[in-house]
């Protein structure tokens, strides 16, 4: 060897580009948002430096957005998990190994296609010319689905099922089928085997999937915008309004800080209690 590379210098050079991105495009902008949340709105919109807690005191003015997000996001996550579980069980237990991966990819693929277009399709299906229109020709008139919480929930299940199935599938696939046989041999009914063996083993997957879906639903904008149509709106819709329409940046910054804070606290509590608890239960069983 002619030259000895200096390992520390090489490491620093490898990490420098990402480090610069993290500092200038993540940490600094987030710090600016925090700073702005204590400021005042300029008369023409924008920001004037100040130190006030007024923006945080004003949060209840957007209480409806917080309420909708904090009720529909958990409920939507729960519904998605309920619909995803049998699907994951089917893929992990009832399909032949040759087809399994292809069938799983077929479930995941829609998540990676344009969210905008998928909810646009649901706007047509749930809109007045869609299902309500067909029902009207059958004599069932005045059904309204679009712009109700139900439309947003249907959209949540549709949009996030592809993300919920894989983690549940992974935890079910690892399930040792001999455990099910053992349970049956010991005289347990299929329902009891399911509740006491299969379900506890699948819980880590359900917990991981639920966290992913919950995070994405909390910060969603397109789903409530298209299927809630301004009547059922989330924090994301309030943020677009505050930053791009009414240009009240300091108040918008306070709403953003509140959203991120709620998310991180939820994730922390969730990891601390739910994930660790389901983990220990798995450890106790296997």
């Amino acid at each position: 060897m002619t030259t000895t590379p200096r390992p520390k210098l090489v490491t620093a050079l490898l990490l420098a580009p990402a480090g610069l991105f993290f500092v200038f495009l993540l940490l600094a902008p987030l710090a600016v948002v925090l700073l702005f949340s204590f400021g005042e709105r300029a008369p023409a919109g924008g920001y004037v430096p100040a130190f006030t807690l007024q923006n945080y005191m004003d949060l209840p003015a957007r209480g409806k957005a917080f309420f909708n997000t904090l009720t529909l996001a958990p409920f939507g996550t729960l519904l998605t998990a309920l619909f995803a579980f049998p699907m994951a069980y089917f893929l992990a237990v009832k399909t032949s190994p040759g087809w399994r991966v292809a069938l799983l990819i077929l479930v995941m693929a829609p998540f990676w296609t344009s969210q905008l277009l998928r909810y646009y399709a649901w706007m047509m299906i749930l809109g007045n010319k869609g299902i309500p229109g067909w029902l009207a020709t059958l004599g069932i008139a005045d059904v309204r689905i679009i712009n109700t919480p139900w439309a947003v929930l249907i959209g949540a299940v549709y949009g996030f099922l592809p993300l919920m199935v894989p983690p549940i599938y992974v935890s079910l696939e690892k399930l040792d089928k001999r455990l099910l046989e053992a349970s049956a041999d010991l005289g347990a009914t299929p329902i009891r085997t399911f509740l006491q063996v299969t379900l506890p083993l699948a819980l880590p997957g359900v917990a991981t999937g639920s966290m992913l879906v919950f995070i994405l639903l909390m910060g969603d904008y397109i789903l409530p915008q298209f299927l809630g149509g301004g009547k059922v709106f989330f924090i994301g819709n309030a943020l677009v309004d505050l930053f791009l329409q009414s240009r009240n940046w300091p108040f918008g910054a306070a709403v953003s800080v509140a959203l991120v804070a709620i998310m991180f606290v939820t994730i922390y509590v969730y990891m601390r209690f739910v994930l660790s608890k389901s983990g220990t239960r798995r450890a106790a069983l296997v």
């Binding site: 490898l14 495009l25 646009y120 397109i222 298209f226 910054a253 998310m263």
Partner: protein, 269 residues
């Protein structure tokens, strides 16, 4: 019964997407009333300069994002492999923050931080004829931030599954560190890097919310689609949408195939 349920789920997942494609061939003016087969709306979409301009902007953004994130993300994974202690913990935390902070907050924070910075420096640069403003480059920067994290996680998983003895063997045979990297490590990492590239492209090509905040006067394809859906629905959107859907399906299947083949060769080796 479970099989019937699974079939229903597949219909539930694919019916809306199929509707978009189906009505893109509609001869009529309305998105939900079939009036016969026609390619009219494809012709109309592809001769619409607004759509083609937005498409061009989106392709530029997605390609730049994919190249930059694949390179920087791979460098990051390689760097973290050589690191221990606080630096590693810090980078891990930053990667997870970049992934967990909602896209809308990334868009907002990039917008207000950059606009404030420009307001600060533009007056003193005006004499030089330089004026910073939001635009395509800001979208690329914000997309790269998120995708560096994704690529770094993918490549790191591959690095950890790699057989160390291959590197040792290469060094025993007197390969230089750079030679070992180019001839042993890089080929093994290639599937993860390529999959990361394709995922970054797909993410960037389809992102609406970040671009909505930071694209300034520039229009990306999702922004164009969003505003035309607001104006009223025409089969033109279905035609553009069908092309977008086809593109992302092809890219996704490619990414999956590359990753699976990579796993298989890794196991075989």
């Amino acid at each position: 019964m479970l099989r019937a349920y699974a079939i229903c789920i597949y219909i539930f997942l694919y019916l809306p997407i199929s509707l978009i494609v189906f009505f893109s061939f509609n001869a009529g003016k309305y998105a939900m009333a079939w009036e016969g087969f026609s390619l009219f709306w494809y012709g109309k979409a592809f001769s619409n300069p607004l759509i083609m301009g937005a498409l061009k902007t989106s392709v530029i953004i997605a390609l730049s994002t994919a190249f930059l994130s694949a390179i920087i993300g791979t460098l990051t994974a390689l760097g973290l492999e050589r690191t221990k202690g606080w630096l590693r913990v810090t980078f891990d935390a930053l990667i997870y923050i970049a992934i967990m902070v909602p896209g809308i907050v990334i868009g907002i924070s990039t917008l207000i931080a950059f606009v404030s910075f420009f307001d600060l420096v533009n007056p003193s640069l005006a004499g030089l004829g330089i004026k910073f403003q939001m635009g395509t480059w800001a979208v690329i920067a914000a997309h790269v931030l998120f995708n560096i994290a994704v690529v770094a996680l993918l490549v790191r998983a591959r690095l950890q599954g790699m057989d160390r003895s291959l590197v040792d063997a290469s060094e025993d045979l007197y390969a230089t560190p750079l030679g070992t990297f180019a001839q042993v490590v890089l080929p093994l990492l290639a599937p993860a890097i390529l999959a990361g590239f394709l995922l970054a492209f797909t993410f960037s090509f389809e992102d609406f919310i970040i671009a909505y905040f930071v694209s300034g006067p520039d229009t990306t394809l999702p922004i164009y689609i969003f505003s035309s859906i607001r104006r009223g629905v025409t089969p033109e959107i279905n035609a553009v949408g069908s092309v977008v859907l086809l593109t992302s399906f092809v890219l996704l299947i490619a990414a999956q195939a590359v990753l699976r083949r990579g796993e298989r060769t890794a196991r075989a080796e």
